[in-house]
């Protein structure tokens, strides 16, 4: 019975596990990819994973604060994307490539 109930009854745990998996995917992207823009996208993936947790908690706890937090996270994420892309553009203008290794030397 346990096995079927895991598949048919969706609880908070399901959402949390989904969130954890997505977060790990984003983290793997941050650690492994070399393209700066893909890194930024991986960060967005992690933020989205966290958002899922927030909304899931908000739903299952019956408190709206989680959704407000998601709202804030979205705004910050948009801002972060804007700055990150601006950085990427300036890096691209200089090196004609957006590899993370151009950030290793923080001079010039």
């Amino acid at each position: 019975m346990l096995e079927t109930s895991i598949f048919t009854e969706i609880t908070l745990n399901h959402y949390l596990v989904l969130s954890a998996i997505m977060f790990s995917l984003g983290m793997a992207g941050v650690l492994l990819r070399r393209n700066l823009i893909v890194l930024l996208m991986s960060i967005e993936l992690m933020l989205n994973a966290v958002n899922i947790s927030f909304v899931a908690f908000s739903h299952y706890m019956g408190k709206i604060d989680g959704q407000v937090m998601v709202f804030f996270v979205m705004t910050i994420a948009a801002a972060e994307a804007a700055v990150g892309l601006a950085l990427a553009v300036s890096i691209f203008k200089r090196f004609k490539e957006v590899n993370i290794r151009f950030f290793e030397h923080l001079k010039g």
Binding site: M27, V30, L31, I100, R101, F103, E104, H105, L106
Partner: protein
């Protein structure tokens, strides 16, 4: 009627606001805006000071005390200090003097400083000074007072070195600052001792806790504490041995000399002692030291004043001398007389400084009185007001200085802790004062003109003469509120308002009731004697410098050795240098070389080398690759999380 808390807030914050406004736009050289802002700021303070004083008058004499506490500043175990401010009989008078004279001097400065490029900065400093001075006099605890004490020291430093591109002037500022530091260190020590003894720094509570029994030992806590505070006061108020900074402080703009180095800041030491008079009174040894130092300063500074040729230096030594009088007064327990002289001195000395400023301004920055003379006809208003100041300082009745100085001399003689020698010193000082002041008048305004042909002296503008006139008036009438009993009764029962006013906050000397006020004949005689001595001295000076201008040179030759000693200011500065400062510098240098360079530095270099050696192993980890950094974070999270979960 406005709430007194609000009034005190306005009183304090108005100059601070002026400081911020002028401080933010300090690059501007528009003297009108800067001057208007600063003067109006202090003017508002003056108005609120007057309103506060009126409220104070309305209260009954026993509880004339308007206290306010804005917030708790610090609370460390027993030490609880509020940002509290008190207006009582003493500080009420002080705020009137500070803001009143301050307003006049701000007004004067508008005219005096109008050609200067840093005029906005100047006014900002001036307003900051007023703010700090108000904190000093209003602070309800020694610590709050100390904040103002340091603040005025800072402003004094900034304003003495205002023209800091001249290295001599910048050095004068540093000298004032460092000399004051010595005194301030002693002040802090005094605070420590008093706090250990009484467990509080609140002035009101301290005065209430003052022991009733007189402490005769030299090493008693109260004696030591008050002595330390007095050393602090000698620094701020330019007494022996720390008076050397004040004559040099004349490097600043003349209105600054008038405000800070004559009327307000330098009297802070006297004010502090008067505030704490119940404490000081139980330490007769301290009082004796204060009286002796005061008398000695009065005479010493006056003798130096005889030989100076710089108009402002003469006035500076005169200030030191007059401050000596005030300390003489508080030293013999005549706190009221000390405060009285403080007030009248603020009027006439500010007047004379401003007058000298007017002269310097009219003479195009010439300060040497040998190059003046006969200025009477060029600047009549300045001459007339200066004349009033002169009459006041040499103690001619009924000018302000007469009443205050005479009361000091009489109490120096008659008070239980007084002595005829103190009176004699005071009288000698008065005679010397009369001499050098007359000499100053004669060389500056009277006699034949020795002015350079290229210089065309002129009278100053209205912004400068109006303060002179107001202060001149105050120099005449300022003393009338404290007419001694003997004269008052003779003239028809004019009461001594001053004494009545201060009575609730001034403690009498323990055994003073028996002797005072019975020897009216002695009082008359001494009064007459001092006036007579001063007059003779003044007439002699007049004869020497106006009637027979050459005679002074002859006398100079006749007493050459003595003259040399005095003219070189007793070599005090040189002595300080060769006995204190240079040995200190030598010691420091050897300490620096043998201890610091050869021992401590080498040790630290060894440690640094070891750290670098260790770092070279670890620097592999820090290769600038951000993803590796992120990996460290990830590994760290994994470790922490597994630790938490395994537990």
């Amino acid at each position: 009627m406005l709430n007194h808390e609000l009034l005190i807030a306005i009183l304090l914050l108005s100059p601070l606001l002026g400081f911020f406004i002028n401080g933010i736009r300090f690059r501007s050289s528009n003297y009108l805006i800067a001057g208007a802002v600063a003067t109006v700021a202090v003017g508002i303070s003056f108005v609120s000071a007057v309103l506060l004083f009126l409220q104070l008058v309305d209260l009954s004499p026993e509880n004339r005390r308007l206290a306010v506490s804005f917030f708790e500043w610090m609370a460390i175990d027993k030490l609880r200090v509020n940002a509290g401010f008190v207006v009582d009989q003493i500080s009420g008078i002080m705020i009137l003097i500070i803001t009143g004279v301050g307003t006049l001097i701000h007004l004067f400065s508008v005219g005096y400083m109008h050609h200067d490029k840093g005029v906005t900065k100047y006014f900002a400093y001036l307003n900051l000074f007023i703010f700090n001075m108000l904190i000093l006099v209003l602070g309800d605890s020694l610590l709050t007072m100390f904040v103002g004490w340091e603040g005025v020291g800072l402003c004094s430093y900034l304003l003495i070195g205002f023209w800091f591109s001249d290295s001599a002037k910048a050095a004068a500022g540093m000298k004032a600052f460092i000399t004051n530091r010595i005194g301030d260190a002693a002040f802090i020590l005094g605070m420590f001792i008093l706090f250990f003894t009484f467990g509080t720094l609140n002035i009101h509570e301290l005065n209430g806790l003052a022991p009733t029994l007189v402490e005769s030992s030299w090493l008693g806590a109260v004696t030591l504490g008050t002595l330390m505070l007095f050393i602090g006061a000698t620094g701020k108020s330019a007494q022996i041995p720390l008076y050397v900074w004040l004559p040099d402080a004349m490097a600043g703009p003349t209105p600054v000399s008038a405000l800070i180095h004559a009327a307000t800041m330098v009297t802070a030491g006297v004010y502090m002692i008067v505030r704490l008079n119940p404490i000081f009174i139980v330490a007769p040894n301290t009082m004796m030291v204060i009286a002796i130092i005061g008398a000695a300063t009065a005479v010493l500074a006056a003798t130096i004043g005889l030989t100076q040729y710089d108009i402002k230096k003469v006035l500076a030594y005169s200030t030191v001398s007059q401050l000596g009088y005030m300390f003489l007064a508080v030293g013999v327990g005549a706190f009221g007389a000390g405060m009285f002289h403080l007030m009248t001195h603020a009027f006439f000395k500010a007047l004379m400084f401003l007058g000298s400023g007017s002269v310097i301004h009219g003479m195009h920055e010439e300060q040497d009185i040998r190059k003046m003379g006969g200025l009477k006809k060029y600047m009549p208003i300045t001459h007339f007001t200066f004349l009033l100041g002169w009459l006041a300082i040499i103690g001619i009745p009924p000018f302000a200085g007469f009443f205050s100085k005479d009361e000091i001399l009489w109490l120096a003689f008659s008070s239980p802790s007084g002595h005829w020698a103190l009176w004699a010193a005071g009288a000698l000082g008065a005679a010397l004062t009369a001499f050098y002041m007359t000499r100053l008048m004669a060389l500056t305004f009277w006699g034949k003109s020795r002015v350079d042909k290229k210089v065309h002296p002129h009278e100053s503008g209205l912004t400068m003469t109006i303060p002179l006139m107001v202060l001149g008036l105050l120099s005449i009438v300022g003393g009338w509120i404290g007419i001694p009993h003997v004269i008052g009764e003779y003239l028809g029962h004019i009461p001594n308002y001053w004494e009545h006013w201060l009575e609730p906050v001034i403690k009498k000397l323990p055994t003073s009731d028996a002797i005072v006020s019975h020897q009216t004949s002695t009082e008359w005689a001494l009064m007459g004697a001092s006036v007579l001595i001063a007059s003779i001295s003044a007439i002699t000076a007049y004869w020497m410098y106006v009637v027979r201008p050459g005679s002074s040179e002859k006398i100079k030759k006749a007493i050459r050795p003595v003259y040399e000693v005095v003219n070189n200011k007793y070599w005090v500065d040189e002595a300080y240098f060769s006995w204190i400062i240079n040995p200190l510098i030598q010691t420091s240098k050897s300490l620096w070389y043998y201890i610091d360079v050869n021992f401590i530095d080498k040790m630290t270099f060894k440690v640094a080398d070891m750290a670098m050696g260790g770092g070279s192993f670890l620097k592999v980890l820090q290769n600038g690759n951000m993803q590796q950094y992120a990996m460290y974070i990830g590994v760290g999270v994994v470790v922490v999380l597994s630790f938490v979960l395994m537990r």
